[in-house]
């Protein structure tokens, strides 16, 4: 246990940065709590989190042939595309919807012990990643069967995943903060995520838009989806997305730091 010293000599920005740094370093706490939550949710079920794998697998198995046919796509390519995209989307959407409740659900913690707020963010992020790894089995199975032409791009997959996680931190912090104060926001976010599922190229590919193909570049979800899935699916490197993501990261972190330094101390009063 560290010596606690509260004094107001530090700037708000400094305190916010300290919170994030200490939060990341408290990996024993968020690692344990995140894992515990996965265990709690699936306690006494035989398959545990693999039920999610099965549920995602069923959705993909049902949608693959149907939409492949509707869109007139070669079934093998489309199936692999859909499976990989859908599993990644599950991760993205779960991170976003869970982030809304990161502080609200951690009320008892926030009011009883002094922990960096970032711990509560990383805890749910960690939980989402654990579930993603379970779902990833589907990706492995599909890829093993359809064998797309991997190249050296495969090496970019961990890099892309890491970039996603880094961005998930600022997105989650902003959402958790805003949702703790305004309790309508989680409901709005839920709706938007559902809409995003349909307007993001998950079931369909940008080429199907013809001359409006460029519009997908306005969708930030698309860029993250693209950098993660492309290394797995083969094909050309999407340079627009690889350029967009670092830009989004910088802008996002700047916005988050501004908001977080201003309102970090208020969270205990809001939850």
């Amino acid at each position: 246990m560290e010596a606690l010293s509260i004094s107001q000599t530090k700037s708000r920005l400094r305190l916010a940065l300290d919170d994030i740094r200490e939060g990341v370093l408290s990996n024993n706490i968020w690692g344990m709590l995140g894992w515990l939550e996965v265990k709690q949710r699936y306690r006494r079920s035989v398959l545990g989190p693999f039920w999610l794998t099965i549920s995602s697998g069923m959705i993909i198995a049902a949608m693959g042939p149907l939409y492949g046919r509707l869109f007139g796509q070669p079934i093998g390519d489309y199936f692999a595309y859909l499976a990989v995209s859908y599993v990644i989307w599950q991760l993205i959407s779960q991170v976003i919807t869970d982030a809304c409740y990161a502080f609200i659900n951690a009320e008892s913690f926030i009011k009883q012990v002094r922990l960096p707020l970032t711990v509560h963010i990383l805890r749910i992020l960690w939980r989402s990643l654990i579930i993603f790894l379970h779902n990833f089995i589907i990706v492995l199975l599909v890829l093993a069967y359809f064998r797309p032409a991997f190249g050296w791009h495969l090496l970019l997959f961990p890099v892309a995943l890491l970039m996603f996680v880094v961005n998930a931190v600022w997105v989650s912090l902003i959402l958790a903060l805003v949702c703790a104060r305004f309790r309508d926001i989680p409901l709005i976010v839920n709706n938007l995520v559902l809409v995003a599922f349909f307007v993001t190229p998950i079931m369909w590919s940008p080429q199907m838009l013809g001359r409006y193909q460029w519009t997908v570049n306005l969708n930030p979800f698309y860029h993250f989806l693209e950098i993660i899935r492309q290394p797995l699916l083969g094909g050309e490197l999407n340079l627009v997305s690889w350029a967009a993501v670092p830009g989004i990261t910088v802008v996002g972190f700047a916005a988050m730091l501004k908001l977080f330094s201003r309102f970090r101390a208020r969270v205990a009063y809001w939850v």
Binding site: M1, E2, A3, L4, S5, I6, S7, Q8, N28, I29, M32, L33, L36, K39, Q40, R43, S108, F109, I110, K111, Q112, V113, R114, L115, R181, A265, A268, Y269, W270
Partner: protein, 235 residues
């Protein structure tokens, strides 16, 4: 040197979701509770801690007294770094243990043994530190073989014994306590009181909020009476 120093400390709660206007009109000053006021943005706020100044040093055993809603718990939480002051300054130096909730984070489906690690981690201990004290905790809490059973099989007394033992294993310079903790049947209770007294004894500063004059008298050398978030009496 451990110390707690506050100058003009203010803690205010904004009230959201309440119809602040009508509340403002009808309730100007509550019979119990903090001072209702409005802040700069015209929101209704409860000022739970109202311009407090104090200077507590090593050897101080502070007893916080006052009726319900006088600001005792809020002040404890502010000292524990949970509520950051809205105004004034507060400086707390030393390792703080706040005994506000003994069971926070414990999982009913995990075994007692696992819960020692869960609680210990939340209290800020490393795995190695916990491993070093785990035997002592098992022994003191007298759970026997139940330590390897899920906690939901425990009686409430057993869970409390375990929670108490874990929380009192962490040494600290400053101890914050909301009501003196009492657990277990007669035999255990006696043992527990000795352990608690020992923990408090090695701490440099104790801040104890309590309604019981006897407990305050037995454990404190200074009494601070709060009313509507202000110090009205200091002995």
């Amino acid at each position: 040197m451990s110390h707690i120093r506050a100058e003009d400390l203010v803690v205010e709660f904004p009230i959201y979701g309440a119809r602040s206007r009508s509340l403002k009109n009808t309730v100007i000053r509550a019979a119990t509770g903090g001072v209702l006021a409005t802040d700069a943005a015209q929101r209704t706020v409860v000022r739970a801690v109202d311009h407090l100044s104090f200077d507590w040093n090593e050897g101080d055993r502070i007893g916080l007294v006052g009726h319900n809603g006088s600001g005792k718990t809020t002040l404890l939480r502010a000292l524990g770094g949970i509520y950051e002051p809205v105004g004034g300054s507060l400086s707390v130096h030393g390792r703080v243990a706040s005994m506000l909730s003994l069971t926070l984070g414990m999982d009913d489906y995990a075994t007692g043994y696992e819960n020692i690690f869960i609680r210990g981690t939340i209290l800020g201990l490393t795995r190695r530190e916990i491993a070093r004290m785990v035997d002592e905790i098992c022994e003191f809490s007298e759970l026997g073989d139940f330590i390897n059973m899920p906690m939901r099989t425990y009686s409430s007394g057993m869970s409390m014994r375990l929670a108490f033992t874990i929380s009192t294993s962490v040494k600290a310079d400053i101890i914050l306590m909301d009501e003196w903790i009492g657990v277990g049947d007669e035999a255990f209770s006696e043992k527990a009181q000795r352990r608690l007294a020992e923990l408090v004894g090695q701490a440099k500063i104790l801040v104890l909020a309590s309604h019981s004059p006897d407990i305050i008298r037995a454990n404190c050398n200074k009494v601070v009476r709060l009313d509507h978030g202000r110090i009205v009496d200091e002995i």
